[in-house]
Point group: C2
Chain length 380, copies 2
């Protein structure tokens, strides 16, 4: 009997209640019974984004909303600063380039958080920069960038947009869109929302809406102006992913009304902290020790162990699916998730499995020390 457990930083396990909500008979998106479903989703999203601004919902994966955050806000020839410290930082640059936006990249070593002073320097040197694109949590390296500090710099001088890929940050830690002055915040359903993939979200400040009016990059499916017009009537421009919205409503109820947003952040941080400490206890290095994201932890595969073999052992023998590194980190790290539907006992079990798999693939250590460390830290 091999029980299988998903520990990737998206998709994450979907609670039974949410899966059953999605299995309800389908309803029509222009009919009256759709209105309360959509309304609860959009109001719940505003709470989890911590904003009074509208939060749009797209039938797309998160990259779709990232695309819209360029194609609807800038014009060809505009100048953007991209903080590039991982696979998703690279994606911002690629999207900007696809739409003819001139890009200055602030390259950050993979696993590090960006230095706000470097952002300040870049903006001072290039005053024509109209928007700064950054990840709140760079999922590929498990590092956080200091969004609050960067936003302060962006806000301090000039009329620029602060655009944040918070796909693995919204609902993961305290990232108040309005208080921090973030103009665009993007997220996706398969992360802290405990949902299958297929929905993308975007909070849009008044400033962003103003930029939208003069932006000229072409777009059709992702049309923020059209969505903003339809939103107050609880409608989307195109047919929405109705079954996923039925699930989202249930998941938002669990997060916001039952567990609570602050308790969700605290749980995620506790799991992340216990994981980091347990990995250190058994002598492993973290990829992002200085600026770790609570969304997931990236652990360096130790010398003498082959990354693919370690992950195959975890998956095929022990039933645990963990994530590989992406891009240049492929095979060099493994990543396990904390965001979403995970609790203490899930995490302790996963750490125990990692220890067993490490032992089986050539890493000599005191098996059980990691699980003990996590158990001690997660007692209360």
């Amino acid at each position: 009997m091999l029980k299988t457990r998903l520990f990737t930083p998206g998709p994450v396990p979907v609670p039974d209640r949410v899966r059953l909500a999605m299995a309800q008979p389908i309803i029509h998106h222009r009919a009256a019974d759709f209105i309360p479903v959509f309304q609860e989703c959009r109001v719940g999203l505003q709470r989890i984004f911590q904003t009074e601004a509208p939060v749009l919902i797209f039938a797309a994966s998160g990259t779709g909303a990232m695309d819209a955050a360029v194609s609807n806000l800038l014009s060809p020839g505009d100048h953007a600063l991209v903080v590039r410290g991982g696979k998703f930082g690279e994606r911002w640059a690629e999207i900007c380039e696809a739409y003819g936006v001139r890009v200055t990249c602030l390259d950050v070593e993979w696993g590090q958080g960006a230095d706000p002073a470097e952002v300040e320097k870049a903006l001072a040197a290039q005053p024509d920069i109209k928007a700064v694109y950054v990840q709140a949590s760079e999922t590929s390296t498990a590092a956080c960038h200091p969004v609050r500090e960067i936003a302060e710099i962006v806000r301090a001088d000039g009329d620029r947009l602060m655009v944040v890929d918070a796909i693995t940050a919204v609902g993961v830690y305290d990232l108040p869109m309005d208080d921090w002055g973030l103009d665009v915040v993007v997220s996706g359903s398969q992360k802290a929302f405990m949902m299958p993939p297929g929905l993308a979200f975007m909070g849009l400040s008044e400033r962003a809406q103003r930029f939208m009016e003069t932006a000229s990059a072409p777009h059709y499916y992702f049309d923020l102006a059209k969505e903003l017009k339809n939103l107050p009537t609880d409608q989307t421009s195109w047919t929405p992913a109705v079954s996923l919205l039925l699930g989202l409503r249930e998941a938002l109820t669990m997060i916001l009304d039952e567990v609570g947003l602050e308790a969700t952040w605290a749980r995620t941080e506790a799991l992340a902290h216990a994981t980091r400490e347990s990995m250190r206890a058994i002598g492993l290095d973290l990829l992002a020790p200085d600026s770790p994201s609570p969304a997931c932890t990236a652990v360096m595969v130790p010398d003498g162990v082959e990354g693919p073999k370690l992950r195959a052992h975890l998956r095929d023998r022990l039933g645990y699916t963990l994530a590989d590194g992406q891009g240049k980190l492929k095979g060099r790290i493994f990543r396990l998730a904390h965001l979403g539907y995970f609790d203490r006992f899930d995490t302790i079990g996963c750490i125990a499995a990692i220890e067993m798999a490490l032992a089986a693939t050539g890493y000599v250590h005191e098996v059980g020390l990691g699980a003990r460390t996590a158990t001690e830290l997660l007692r209360d």
Copy 2:
């Protein structure tokens, strides 16, 4: 006890088996157990599209694939012919304009099918037209355009693309992509596929792939070249809508391996025919009598009856959700679906409900004659 029944031409009811398939625990899209799911989906889609060409799958609604069929195949300044005979014909024109494509519209009266001779004339007069955009089944009017004949004209002369919105045609009637020489065929999950909305599909001929290479309209999320590269490895470029793919695999098994594609077309046509005849029997006019789509039937609201009241009575008193007209047809027609998970008894029940609602909102007729007509026609 009011049982509710959805009769809109998308979304359509989702079979229990498909809903339970989507309620399975989520799997990771880069893990080994995802491969057979995706493979069965893409091979099944080729069968239902009747093509050897690749069929791409997007996390999006059908409009997303329509967008991609312009933004990936043409360049600003290119010239396209759009057959415009309803709301979705208008959408082709809007998408072309959004990407700077010059559009010549062949306007067709709403409810009519296009005249192939007019297409021939337009192409002869404007030899720089690079692509013809058309609906196979114009859902807003319930009319079909003669795609086969138009494709013959497009194929006869010059190197042009034949792009077909078959969102309510694939799996509805015999529309062989390869045999008819169609270059791009677009569809969506919430139609004949008996699925919730959230997946868009696109069959892409070799000619279309060649056009793609020189097209310069900007795009990122919908990137056909990138998807084509990933497809043979059973992967999508961005995170796919995993739960919907689990459902799609089940639905395709039902359609292709259990019911059969030809039996599906025959059932849909029989339901459509019986519906048209029963509406005629009680004295109602059809919007598209000459070129009706089997996907759905659009019935004119008779004089003396208010469309909104009729539909409200159906919904609130009898439990049937039917579709309104769109655009300039709002309130003037009602539409009921035949494509997807409907059988004879669903359809006879719906016709009976329409008769009762007509009687209750002011249309004097022999109540039951419609249901009797449908029952006679659907006996065998």
